[in-house]
């Protein structure tokens, strides 16, 4: 049995940031993740927006956290060495109803002191973003909105937590939590953990984990959403995040110029699908919205579509819950159940909030040795030619471009493996390799060979994203 002060269940964005923030205190911390890598569930797919904070009821936890998180976001990304683009956002209206929605959000934003908000006419909006549809009649401009790569952020937090002493247990699935005299006993499929406090950040399964010990008043009803990604060279790519508030009150739409340079379009919305499966209707919806809002966009530049799963919190009676839910069913036990938008924006704030609760409960003093800084993998792309020449001189692997679409070198891939990538998706999430216009058709086979060699496993054992997703040899024998 392993003993810790606090066990964090779930290595998604929230779990990684909870662990990171627990490290600010003198605590012995474990982070337990069922999969082979962090950020493989809900965190692996979302809209990647860092919200300005005008979307929520003034004074609510969500509103306050979002505004605070946004204010701190650049600093957070500097600490964790993660690219952050504060590109600003334009929320668009094409009619009276949406005009009113924008005015309300503007007022919300003002009362929450969201900086720089402006209500613009359609003409003013088109001056900022010439590719907008002629039907756009007003817009809410938020210069503080931005975008970040969600998994890059989560991985950075997990690395920072580990560097500050948190123990990371991968491939460890929680089977149940028991109460003991000293605290809690967490049974997993590998070993048993004893701890004094538990932070349940199990994402889609947070209600199930809580229910192994306590009843949960909140249940997760997942829904799926579809997204498209356009190549970086797409004509008329907007420079701002574009958010469309449809006149019919239906599902909104986002176009996000990502930090990688691609354009993310979506989401669609649909209920009751939890297998990350893309729906044809969802893709059609996203395309239709994109064509309406940004008519000059060439959707022929689509390089990928994917689905996200979101953990919607619902009460027993089925009604949905708009606020963040942090359940505290017993001393020393907190569950973050159904954290969705703006969970990415608030990941560090939520992690800090939960960590502070646990630290207060355990009466843990600050750990003066905590270092909030983490260095990212040094990327060749974006370096000056002089810098790039210098890094190649010190490490020839920087001279070897492995992924030609995204300009990712062998040195970056090797470093990703050293930092814990054990799958092709793990390399992709840490380096960006395979994310470009050829979607890995020119480099996946090279990465596969590299990964096998570095891990000391046969190529046939290399997976895309964990056991059962072996890339070579066809269907696994046990099927």
């Amino acid at each position: 049995m392993r003993e810790f002060d606090v066990v964090v269940i779930g290595g998604g964005l929230l779990g990684c940031f909870a662990a990171r923030n627990l490290c600010r205190r003198k605590l012995h911390i474990a982070l337990i993740e069922a999969r082979e890598d962090v950020c493989t569930g809900v965190s692996r797919a979302n809209t990647a927006i860092v919200y300005p904070g005008y979307d929520h009821k003034p004074g609510s936890l969500k509103a306050e956290m979002t505004v605070r998180a946004n204010t701190r976001f650049a600093e957070l990304c500097t600490e964790l060495d993660v690219p952050f683009s504060r590109c600003g956002s334009l929320m668009l209206s094409c009619g009276e109803r949406a005009d009113a929605v924008l005015r309300e959000k503007y007022r919300n934003g003002l009362s929450m002191a969201v900086p720089g908000l402006r209500l613009l006419s359609g003409e003013e909006a088109r001056e900022l973003e010439p590719s907008l549809a002629p039907g756009v009649r007003s817009a809410l401009y938020a210069p503080t909105a931005g975008t970040v790569n969600p998994w890059e952020l989560g991985i950075a937090a997990s690395e920072n937590a580990a560097a500050n002493g948190a123990d990371l247990f991968l491939n460890t699935r929680v089977l149940g939590v028991r109460k003991t005299a000293e605290g809690y006993r967490i049974e997993t499929d590998r070993e048993v953990f004893a701890c004094r406090a538990v932070l349940n950040c199990a994402g889609l399964y947070a209600d199930k984990v809580q229910e192994t010990l306590f009843p949960s008043e909140v249940h997760i009803v997942p829904d799926g959403a579809d997204y498209l990604i356009l190549d970086r060279v797409t004509d008329n790519r907007p420079a701002h995040i574009i958010q469309y508030e449809p006149e019919d009150g239906g599902k909104g739409f986002n176009a996000v110029p990502t930090v990688e340079g691609s354009l993310l379009l979506g989401p669609s919305e649909r209920a009751g699908e939890v297998d990350f499966a893309v729906s044809e209707q969802g893709l059609a919806f996203v395309r239709e919205r994109a064509e309406f809002v940004l008519p000059g966009l060439d959707l022929g530049g689509t390089i990928r579509s994917f689905a996200a799963v979101r953990p919607n919190p619902r009460r027993e009676d089925g009604s949905s819950i708009g606020s963040f839910v942090i359940e505290h069913p017993a001393p020393g036990f907190w569950s973050m159940i159904g954290i969705k938008t703006p969970g990415l924006t608030c990941a560090d704030e939520l992690g800090r909030f939960a960590a502070e609760q646990a630290a207060a409960f355990l009466n843990a003093g600050p750990d003066e040795s905590f270092d909030p800084r983490r260095r990212g993998i040094r990327k060749a792309r974006g370096m000056s030619w002089e810098q790039r020449a210098a890094v190649i001189r010190s490490d020839p692997d920087y001279g070897e471009v492995v992924c030609c679409c995204e300009d990712i070198t062998k040195a970056e891939v090797l470093e990703a493996v050293r930092r814990g990538a054990v799958t092709l998706d793990g390399i992709k999430r840490r380096t960006g390799a395979c994310m470009g216009r050829c979607q890995g058709s020119r480099c996946q086979q090279k990465l596969l060979a590299l990964l096998a060699r570095e891990l000391g496993i046969p190529e046939s054992a290399v997976t895309k994203d964990g056991a059962g997703s072996e890339v070579l040899g066809g269907r696994p024998h046990e099927d």
Partner: protein
Amino acid sequence: MKTELLIVGAGAAGIAAALAAWEAGCRDILLVDRRERPGGILPQCLHEGFGLAAYGAELTGPAYADRITERLAQTGVRLALGTEVLAVRGDKTAVLSGRGGLSEWRFERLILASGCRERSIGSLPVAGTRPAGIFTAGQAQEMMNLRGQDVGREVLILGSGDLGLIMARQLVLAGKHVIAVIEQGPRCGGMARNYRRCIEPYQIPLRCRTTVSALHGERRLRGVTLRNLDSGAEELLPCDTLVTALGLIPERELVRGLGDPDWLSYVGNCHRVHDLADSAAAEAEAIGTRVGGELAV
């Protein structure tokens, strides 16, 4: 560093252009390729059918690559393999990266022979999961023929272009079950010669007016939904591997945004997609002769 003629891509077209430019009198040629061996995709094309026009023989891709590489070795063309061209700039300079370092080159003329990339399934509105086991045809070809990597057992091929047909045969010969070749159009997309050689003898079903509308399998591909494009009828087809031959896109990203400068020429598949290496080479030869002649003066 300086070179009169920079050629990007040492495949059939790039080598043909280099040989022709040398013949025409240009004595300062740098031919670069990201791969570790010359020939572009030729070394992975184990089938015959290369060189009929140029050599009067039906050669395999590697044999054809050997012939042109041997000819190249008899010239003074400098060959830089394992070298990525990171940038080409409007002031006639290029930045090259290799394990030996970064280098900047000033050139007089540039011949782009960078070939094609394959359209990936990501560009299609396909529903379902995103599992392992999906490869482009050229990727599967490289994996099998150059890397000894086994792509799968129960294979469906989407797209009946030449690459799809050639890979169908190769997979059958490798002992795989090729369930069918799926074609969105009304008839086979590849050359009749390839249909006769690669599909008919092995009785591989070719299903036209059909597409893959959804992928299934959480981790590894377990099957696809096929849709008839006329009737809309759908059926579930179990398979563990999908090989896509959805078309080739001329690869010109390197010179995007440079407009149409008089120092830049395109040859081979980055100019237009050729059915045969011979025809790509013939086109490249003509342009290599002209450019080389101008530089020789």
